[in-house]
Amino acid sequence: MKLYEYIIRRLILMIFVLLGISLIVFYLARGFPTGIDPVTPYIHSKMTAEQIEMVRKIHGFDQPLYIQFFYWLRDILQGDWGITGTWANSRPTNVVFFSHFPYTVELSVAATILTVAIGLPLGIISALKNNKLPDHVSRIIALAGYSTPAYWFGFVLQLVFFYYLSLWGLPHLPSSGASGMEGVVSRITGMPVLDGILAGNLGYTLDALAHLILPAFSLSFISMGFLTRIVRAGMLEVLRQDYITLARSKGLTERVVIYRHALKNALIPAVTLTGMFFALLLGGAMITEYVFAWPGVGQISLRAVFQGDSNFLLVYTLVTAAIIVIANLIVDVLYVFLDPRIKY
């Protein structure tokens, strides 16, 4: 199979995955009497009963559930993503979603950078000093990483870096929100840090970065542990192979052996798991956003869950699922370039 055939096959499969996801979420969000009536967000005080009936007819809310799904599918393919819950002042779902999505992207990207920057060295050290003190220390950090309740860790960070530091009159980090200077810089990308850089406003950028540090670190703590363990396992496996022994017996320095020969191959499994990290970060972002009052889509979807707001939940799950699937696809394609033994 050629590479582009493989990519096309995967993309076609993705459509089925997205369809399956929307079926599940649609059924869960609309199919139960505990959920609110899907027509609720469409109603405002000036509407007559006839107009409400008309909205019901147009979007198929009066039909059985399985027919409603096709109405929804028709609407979404026509670009009408529906109106989202009363908590968002009944605004169009896509407007609400895409104005908050950049915040989540910023948080996830920052968390990914921190994950790699901390997790990679820890994993390498762990493998090189196998079963010695540095290995134990890095193992404890890594395992504590994915044993930590996300919201609890966020709370501890807030308590230490915001509350106690401010109690003692020391410079402290902000505990909530994405930016303390809303509206100073025009929104271009929607990500505060990037907007600040684009506008050339140093104060705004630094403020946005200060807001970003705690949530990003809190979010990266889980995936950091996973990365550390995977890099360690990959490194241990590679270090026992013949070509490493050969490289050593050639008289190469340990530095060259490890960084030029071992690391490249040891990183392949770590790269393949980037897709998984992304899923983990996007899923974990919900709780982190809730704790840090980060204005991203995760926090909003949490509110949507409690309100039974099917329109927002569908958009949220579909977009994040599409990102996860595409990230996995990119990783699988990268794999071919990283490891020449693999063919499709």
Binding site: L13, F16, V17, G20, I21, I24, V25, L28, A29, G31, F32, T34, G35, N131, H136, R139, I140, L143, A144, Y146, S147, T148, P149, A150, Y151, W152, F153, F155, V156, Q158, L159, Y163, R229, A233, L236, E237, A279, L280, L282, G283, G284, M286, I287, Y290, S301, L302, V305, F306, G308, L313, Y316, T317, T320, A321, I324, V325
Partner: protein, 321 residues
């Protein structure tokens, strides 16, 4: 039975025994794994003993029944020491004192005792969820790997769908729609955790079923069920065990996270996430509530993760040495 046959069986058992001894030796060599084993045993013991150590009636927010709904400690004494904070009617948060080493929660219940009572709730649910997810996923994975063809493809695609949904949202939507009961929560978390086992078991079965002993068994006239359940699954179950041990910590965390987010069947249920969510609104003035309940969750998850990590190192033939 002939002599030589007895001999081979004996030597086979001797080999297994030697293997087990070597495994135990490897486990003993690593202090962190030992710590994990002891912590795990401690929490399991606490799971069985908690209701004997602490009177479960203490969890009743109305106070002791035999004291007519009041608490047997003297509140005035605590008041006079100046470490009571008044939150308004109905909320009694005390900071740690000689009466309550870790302080109290919003109902004036001793936090330490509530944490002891909460541990069996979390552990029991996590055990049920993990075993359920592992059993379900393993069976589906075994089916997919062993039968192959269309069934394999269908099971894999369904797994893909479940793996692509952000893991919390599925559990949240499910729990929100089916109402707030423990059973709903269990099932909603199970929904998130089973797909990993399908992938894992399928991969194992695919390599295992090509081995010559399977062919030999089939030649001897063994049925599919016997080959699969009697031989292939037992031979490839180790990674599942390791994964289940590792997942146990995540399940505890997810379960308490759902409780924390407000899916608790009752706000007074002593459960770690529930206690923490009580503390969320008093995050800066009563930090002990969240601090200690979260720390307990961390310790439970860490215990099982240390154990699982050690088991993986020891049972994985590629890393074992």
């Amino acid at each position: 039975m002939e002599k030589s046959e007895v001999g081979t069986i004996k030597s086979e058992w001797a080999a297994r025994w030697a293997d087990l001894k070597y495994t135990l030796y490897l486990l003993r060599k690593n202090p962190l794994v030992m710590a994990g084993i002891f912590m795990t045993l401690f929490f399991i013991a606490l799971m069985f003993l908690a209701n004997y150590i602490v009177d479960p009636r203490l969890a009743n927010p109305a106070g002791y029944p035999e004291f007519g709904g009041n608490y047997p400690f003297q509140r005035s004494y605590v008041w006079s020491k100046g470490n009571i904070i008044s939150w308004g009617p109905g909320i009694h948060l005390y900071e740690g004192s000689e009466f309550f080493p870790l302080g109290t929660d919003g109902w004036g219940r001793d936090l330490l005792k509530m944490i002891v009572l909460a541990i069996p709730v979390d552990m029991e649910n996590a055990i049920i969820i993990t075993l359920g997810a592992a059993a379900f996923g393993t069976l589906l994975g075994a089916l997919a790997g062993y039968v192959g063809g269309v069934i394999d493809e269908v099971i894999l695609r369904i797994t893909d769908i479940f793996l692509s949904i952000p893991y919390l949202i599925l559990a949240l939507v499910f729990a929100a729609m089916f109402g707030r009961t423990i059973e709903t929560l269990r099932f909603s978390i199970l929904l998130v955790f089973w797909p990993t086992y399908v992938r894992l078991m399928r991969g194992q079965i695919l390599s295992e079923k090509e081995k010559s002993y399977v062919e030999a068994l089939k030649a001897l006239g063994a049925g599919h069920a016997r080959v699969l359940f009697g031989h292939i699954i037992p031979n490839s179950i180790y990674p599942v065990l390791v994964q289940a041990t590792l997942d146990f910590g995540s399940v505890v965390l997810t379960f308490s996270a759902l409780m924390f987010l407000g899916f608790s069947p009752s706000p007074s249920l002593p459960e770690l996430g529930n206690l923490a969510s009580d503390g969320y609104f008093h995050i800066f003035d009563a930090p002990w509530l969240m601090m200690f309940s979260g720390l307990t969750m961390l310790l439970i998850a860490l215990a099982f993760n240390l154990l699982g990590d050690g088991l993986r190192d020891v049972l994985d033939p590629r890393i074992r040495r």
